[in-house]
Structure formats: structure tokens, C-alpha cells
Point group: C2
Chain length 558, copies 2
Amino acid sequence: MSHLTDIEIARAARAKPIQDIGASLGIPPEHLLPYGHDKAKVDQGFITSLSDRPNGKLILVTAINPTPAGEGKTTTTVGLGDGLSRIGKKAAICIREASLGPNFGMKGGAAGGGHAQVIPMEDMNLHFTGDFHAITSAHNLLSAMIDNHIYWGNELEIDERRVVWRRVLDMNDRALRDVVTSLGGVANGFPRQTGFDITVASEVMAILCLASDLQDLQRRLGDMIVAYRRDRSPIYARDLKADGAMTVLLKDAMQPNLVQTLEHTPAFVHGGPFANIAHGCNSVIATTTALKLADYVVTEAGFGADLGAEKFMNIKCRKAGLSPDCVVLVATIRAMKMNGGVAKADLGAENVSAVESGCANLGRHIENLKSFGVPVVVGINHFTGDTEAEIAAVQAYVAGQGAEAVVCCHWAEGSRGITDLATRVAALADSGQAQFAPLYGDEMPLFDKIDCIAKRIYRADEVLAPTAIRDQLRAWEEAGYGHLPICMAKTQYSFSTDPNLRGAPTGHSLPVREVRLSAGAGFVVAICGDIMTMPGLPRVPSAEKIMLNDAGAVTGLF
Amino acid sequence: MSHLTDIEIARAARAKPIQDIGASLGIPPEHLLPYGHDKAKVDQGFITSLSDRPNGKLILVTAINPTPAGEGKTTTTVGLGDGLSRIGKKAAICIREASLGPNFGMKGGAAGGGHAQVIPMEDMNLHFTGDFHAITSAHNLLSAMIDNHIYWGNELEIDERRVVWRRVLDMNDRALRDVVTSLGGVANGFPRQTGFDITVASEVMAILCLASDLQDLQRRLGDMIVAYRRDRSPIYARDLKADGAMTVLLKDAMQPNLVQTLEHTPAFVHGGPFANIAHGCNSVIATTTALKLADYVVTEAGFGADLGAEKFMNIKCRKAGLSPDCVVLVATIRAMKMNGGVAKADLGAENVSAVESGCANLGRHIENLKSFGVPVVVGINHFTGDTEAEIAAVQAYVAGQGAEAVVCCHWAEGSRGITDLATRVAALADSGQAQFAPLYGDEMPLFDKIDCIAKRIYRADEVLAPTAIRDQLRAWEEAGYGHLPICMAKTQYSFSTDPNLRGAPTGHSLPVREVRLSAGAGFVVAICGDIMTMPGLPRVPSAEKIMLNDAGAVTGLF
């Protein structure tokens, strides 16, 4: 058992030179663009040269609905990558990058935990390789070009009241949520009300994560709707001739970042779109590159499986032509207990019946995931207090669902503790069982797609949407956007829109409050609850404690 | 003669691996943090280990007042570095980084020109190593912490009307000059009027460029005044506990960037403060590091010698304990003609008498520079149309001033064309002639310092400053800021505040419009004219033409 904190374990690790990690995947050093000694980008030209190679197996790690007890989805993703390496497989993992801003509010996060982490931890919580800064620049260049166009005569006839493109910063700054710009007289333009979102909420982020290459990136950037005319006709980023310069700003950011786990498994850490108003997965280009270079690629999706895995399947896999070979559903005994009604303070005591009743949440996720045609295995992320009886209860339940639950101790033991799951996952992925298909077809009407997700994944009885929303969806269908998938934005804590409704609720409705068109990213966002796109700082922000110590190391960030 | 453009020459160059460039300065590869294959940062620990080494010679390149004819200050800095290398000296150059935002308005700039350039040119005009993004983040974190402090109860009693700390973006965006933030109700804070500057105008930028190390950086960041109370007492960044986290955000940015010239002379490109409201020089840490690693370090200052060299001497050298060994004053025959009253359209024709009368500007700069106790040599940056008679006229004039004017053809010929100047500069620097002293002592009252610069450098008859400004200066003296140097902000085109007054004007006055205290950077800014701290985009911004071509190369940026 480890008694060290994540950061202590991470700092004690000896990273291999990133060229060695690249070499383990067959990337020649000239095609690896180093950022310091332990981070690199993989050169775009090299990626292009891989196109004829066969793909490795794609393994998705997802989880039950999150509870305050913690599930360890990323920890399991990292541990499984190390476990596959340990049993002799050529493995890589793909996860998202962290946003800078939130680290100054609450403490920054490890990528994984215990003995299953990705390093270098500080860099990944600070500027890393600058991708998010590039997205901020590209996004705000477009913003400046919109106001500049209006300033110089507004040839495109932009309705200043209908500019939907805001600005972004990678900072938690509530003062910027709602602002009036262009005050101060003639030389500063036409005053209008607008605001800032956090960078990860930018459509540019979603696009970077869905684009297959730089040409596709530029096409999608051009497709973004930035404003409307008085007649409601849309104005695209392409109309402002912003797409080329934005692509130039993003050309380095499009190249996936390579780092390593504590056990030196290659880790692609690239892109980080919101999991609510966007799809919440690492970049397509990182995943497709990893699939060309490794035999087994372990990746994860945001939130619980009802949101994250659904969007991974219906948005990312559909759009990128990816086909998952196996899904790992992460659960913990503690989370099962909370789903069974136990309060956080009481998690320490054995409670088999609570575990059993909490398994309903797990069971529904298994059923949902199987409906995509992909074999599922449950990974029980082991905590010290878990009892044998509790574990046996979960395993029996999962067996009853036609799946298997495997206990993993990677947090405490690293790869040694997860060889069983790795062996099972490799066997499932190699079995050819997977017959992946998205939940709905492209041709299904937009409202029906929402209805399909609500009923088949959330098990809601009905979708509540005002006429204005249904009309808007129909208008987008007429404008040629009917083939797009839906990006659901709802609470991650429940199948329903009520975050307190744990387990496997039925009899609920799904109220759709708003719909948004992300024409460049290529999805329609259905907002079912409050979505905050610019966080604030807490009363005592963690920034107050973050500093360099006398040895020059960062303290207070974790 | 070269018929290629700067970008064509730069793209044809074969960069050496940055590790080879580091090795030529004795930097072991483990202390060089690469950013791709042709850029690197020099590790802070390695820099610290150099402290006992002797310094090389410091050579400042400055220029006459700029004219539309062009002077080629950076080109000469680069060429002189290559020239010193060619004559067998261990040389390095130190120049500023370029700002990202302006490239999307007007075309980006080469660092140098012709056969005297620093590469990689595209990277230096785009994100480079992310330093400016780090400054943007650090600056805006402080902004967010100010509004957050007010939001949560305003324990420090910040007067919301007297928040002087604005926000920054590295973007030309006039719509952000003057904004109202925190609209939208209780959850978003207290509305107030504020604005954004471009990142290079941030006091954080000036501080990064003046700090000797990370401890000094944090101390200076803490010293910044961000707001005042109703009783006018100042509130410092330290009061908000922002200095530690800002330092963490800047820890990589503080490490100087190493690149190379076309001829592989090591080039430190680091920092880029405004040359008006700040001092306009590359970072102290880059210069001091270069001095430990090279025998001759060639650096430059912004604008003409009246502003740039004056601030280099009185601010940077004074604060960093640097002592220049030789100054190169760059002039062109064309610029002499314009100072002699010739219009730009007529520059093609030989005009010895105009050259002779224009030499007055050159002469005054020579006299001023000598007053700092440093030997001066004039570098005539050769243009194709210059005639022998015109060159002879300048050389005769300069000889009459007790100095020498050397013709250099580095633009067309690279190092081969500048060996004469390099030889002369090395001899002067080695001669021990330099007896550097700043123009005024620390103890001189603030107003007298302004008066001293106005009379001894600009040759103004008087300083015009309203009582309020004189009172403000006295108040700062009482608050303990009387020892600070002055940072003059005036037009670069004339010794006077009238940009059209070329040559060596006399009989003018210096009106001071405003004074600002940069308590962290450590200077008092005297503003004598209009200073724009957030540029706008032109009617047809260059961004419209910037894109990747089919080969993946950037077009339209240059």
C-alpha cells in the first residue's frame, strides 16, 4: 500500500527521455517535436505517412454516474495501459488535457492517481505545450475580426444584436461573463453586450478535437456561425476570411502531445472539450495516431457512461469512423453504496445490501453500452476498505447481466495490480465480438434523436421541449443541418436531469431548455439544465497558496 | 546582391539542431529545454550555476531617429553578431520577441533582414515558446483575483472606481479598449468600467524583462499597485496573494530562449516590452546569461537613441548592474537625406548637401551617447543606391565628431559584408575606454530627472508639467518611490514631441501630459503624447490573407 500523495509519487518517478517513449512506438526522433525533455508533439507529416497502416484495438474506459466517493476513471485508463504493457502488449493511452484556469480556483488534478498516473504532472496543469493558448488566440482573433468588420462599415450586414460569437480566456473570471464592449467613442467601435467563456468551452476546442487533419480543421472553422443578419441568415467565420489565419494559429496545437505514464507507457494527452456543451473526449487525431502506432489504445470519455460514452459513440466514433473493440465500465464499491443510498460519512462500514441495491446504476450502464454492439467488462477500482462480501456481491450482479467484473489494484500497485483486467480486455478486444453501431442514424430528425437518447439511454418517459425549440430544430433541418448528431448537456450525476436521483430512475421526463447549433464542430447541443461556461473563483482561491518553494518546485497546485 | 525576399532567404536556410548552437556556448544538452528542433530555453539551474563566471563585452546597437526610409537596427545587430563570429570571436546576440497580435493587422516582421536574420521566422511571429501567453495568463489571473476579492466581500476595501489594473490580450482588438464588466446580476459581481491592453503593454512584461531571477520576479510582481482605497492608499498584488501563482505561471517564461542567425550565431530572443510606456529592451536575464556564455554580446534598444539607448542606459543597465563597452549607432544614407529634408520619393537621387545637413541628427546622438561614457562607432547600413560621395560626406562628418563611420553590407552579403565594423567594435570594446555612468543619480528628485533627460538628451528648453503632475511626483517621493528612474514615453520620430521635427531641433518644450507609477517594474512613466496601449485592426487585416498553402507552409504572414 502506498502512503504517498499523488504528487509525491509523481515527483519520485524517473521519466524516460521522450525520444525513448517515441521510439517504443516507432516514432523516429526527427518526427518528434520536443517540448523540454519529457513532452513532445508528433509531427503532422509523420502522422500523414501512417495512413496505410492497420489500426490497433480501441478500448473505451467509462464509468457509472459519478458520486462524491470517486470512481477513478482516468486512474483506470492509465492503469489499464500499464497493465497491457505489463502483459506484453504494445499499448498506448489517450486522455484529455487539463484546463489552466480552474487550477487557480480549486487545486489542480493529477492525470490518474496513486501508482497509475501520467507525468509530468505540473506541466500538464500549467501551460503544457501551449495548445489551449493557441485555441484562445484563434478564438479571439475571430472575435476581433467580427468587431473590426462592423467598425469598418459592416459590409456583411451583421446584426450587432445577433453576434453569437463571444470571446474566451483560460481563466475562472466571473466578471467577464457578461460585458459591454466598444465603449469610449467613435474610435472604439459600436458598443454591444457580449461576454467571455472559458477556453475549453470554445467551439474551436471541439473542432480541434474532431478534425481529422488541418484541411478538415480549416473547413470546420469556416463553417462556424458567428452572427446573424436582421433577416436571420447566418454569417460564417469563412465570410470574415478568418478561417485561414485561425488554422495557422492552430497548426502546432493540432499535433498530438506525447508524454508517459509512471511505468513509461506512451500517453497521448491532447484536447479537452467540455463534456456538456461539447463531446468531452480527447482529440480524434490523437486517437487515430495512437491506433496506427499501438496494438491497444485505451481512451476515456467524460462524465458517466450515459453522457460520456454515449457521446463518444454517437459523435466521436461516428464522425471519425472509429469502432471501439471493448468497453471498460469503472465502478467502485463505495460508489455502489452511495447509489444504494449510503451517505458519504458512512462509506467505511460494510454494507452488502446497499451495494446490491446500488448495482442498478451499474446494470443499466452495462445494458446501454451493450446496445452499441460492443463487449463490456466492469473494472472494480479497489479501495482499501472494500470487503470480500461486497466485491462478491458486485461480481455476482454483473455476472447476472452477462458480463464480468474484475477487481483492479492499480492505484496501490501499478500495473501489477491490473493484469487480470488487462488480460480480459485484450481477449475481448481480440475476440472480434464487437459489432459497433451508433444508436441512431444520421437521417433521423433532430428531435427524434434527442427522444431516442432520452428514452433508450436515460430511460425517460418523454422529452419536454417548447414549440420554439421544436421549430428551431426543424429550421436547422431545412438549412441542411438535419444529419448532425446531438450533443446532450445535462447533469452527470443521474440518468435524469435531477442530480440527486441516483441508481436507475424511471418515470422521469427530459426537459430541453435550449438548443444550440455548433455548425463547425458538427453537432446540435441540447441543453437540459444549467450550464456554466465561465466559472468563478471561490472565496479563497487556491492561487493564494500556489508558489515556488526555495528549491524552485511548485507548491500549492496539488 | 540578393534578389530574394527575407522569408525566401530564411526558408532556404538550414538551421542547425539547437543542441549544436547551445554546445557552441558550452550549454550541455540536459540544460537546454528544446521546443521543437530549432528553439530552446536555457534551464534556470544552469543559469544560476554561471554566476561566478566573468562577463563578456556588452555592445549596444541603437539608431538615429527612425524615418520611413528605414535604418536596419535589428539587421545590424544580427549582422554584427555574425561578423564577430566570422572574425573568430565567440559572439551572441540578444533581441526582443515579437508580439503575436499585430501580425494579424499588418504583416509580420523578420528579425533582421536580407542575409542578416534570426530564424525560425514563422515561429517567432506566432506562438514561439509561449512566453507572451504566460504573461497574458499571469496578468489576467491577477485581474480575476481583484474582481473575485471584491465579489467575496472586499476585505481590502478596494475602491471599485480606482482599480488601475486592467486585463490584457495579445491581440489587436479595439473593442476591448473600454468595457464594462460584471454585468448580469448578483452572481457576476459589481459592474465597473475597465479595459484591455495588448500583452506587451503589461507591467508583467516589463517586470519579466527587468527581473534578475525568479525571487526578484516574485518580489516585483508583489510590488505592483493594482488599485487604491477611498483614502488613496495603494493596494498591491501582494495584498491579493497573487504574486506566488503569477510567478509559477511565469517560471518557464523567465528562462531565456535560444535560437540562431542564418549563419548559426547564437541568438537569445527573450521578452518584448513596449518602448514607450516601458523600457523596450530584451530581458535582463537573457543579456546577463549571454554575457556569461559569450565574449561579445550584441543587443539593441527600441526606437532611436534618444529614447531607446537612454532607457537602456538609465533603466536596464542601472537596474541590472550592466555596463556597455561600446555603442553602435546605425544610420543610413537615405535616412540622413530625409533628416536633411528630402521626401521619400526623391531618395533615389544623389544629394550630398541633404546628407550633410541631415547629419545634425546623427551628431547629436553621438554626443548624447558619449555623455554616458561609452565609445561610439557609427554603422552605415549600406543600400544599393548610396553613392561614394554621400558615404564620404557622412564619414567626414562623423570624424569631425571624434568618431568613426564604417560602411556595412551585411544585408546583401551576410557576415562577409560587416567584418570591418566587427573588427572596430571588438577593438573598442576591448580597449577599456568605456567609463559608463547613467545620466542622473538615483537620489535626484523625479521631476529633475525628467528635466535632465529633456534638456541633456532632447535639448528642450523647458519641461511643461501642470501642478497636479508635479504634486503627484512629490507624493510618490514621499511614498518612497523617489529613487526610481524615469521611463519616457514620447514620439520616436524626433528629439522633440513633434514627430515632424527631424534633424536636431532646438527651442522646443517637453509637455508632460501624465505620469504613471510602475512600482513593480521600478520606474515612473512620463507620458508626453498619445500612447495607444491596445491597437486596432486595419480595414483589410492581414489575417484575411494568412493561411497554410497546399504544402503546409504559412503564407500571407510576411
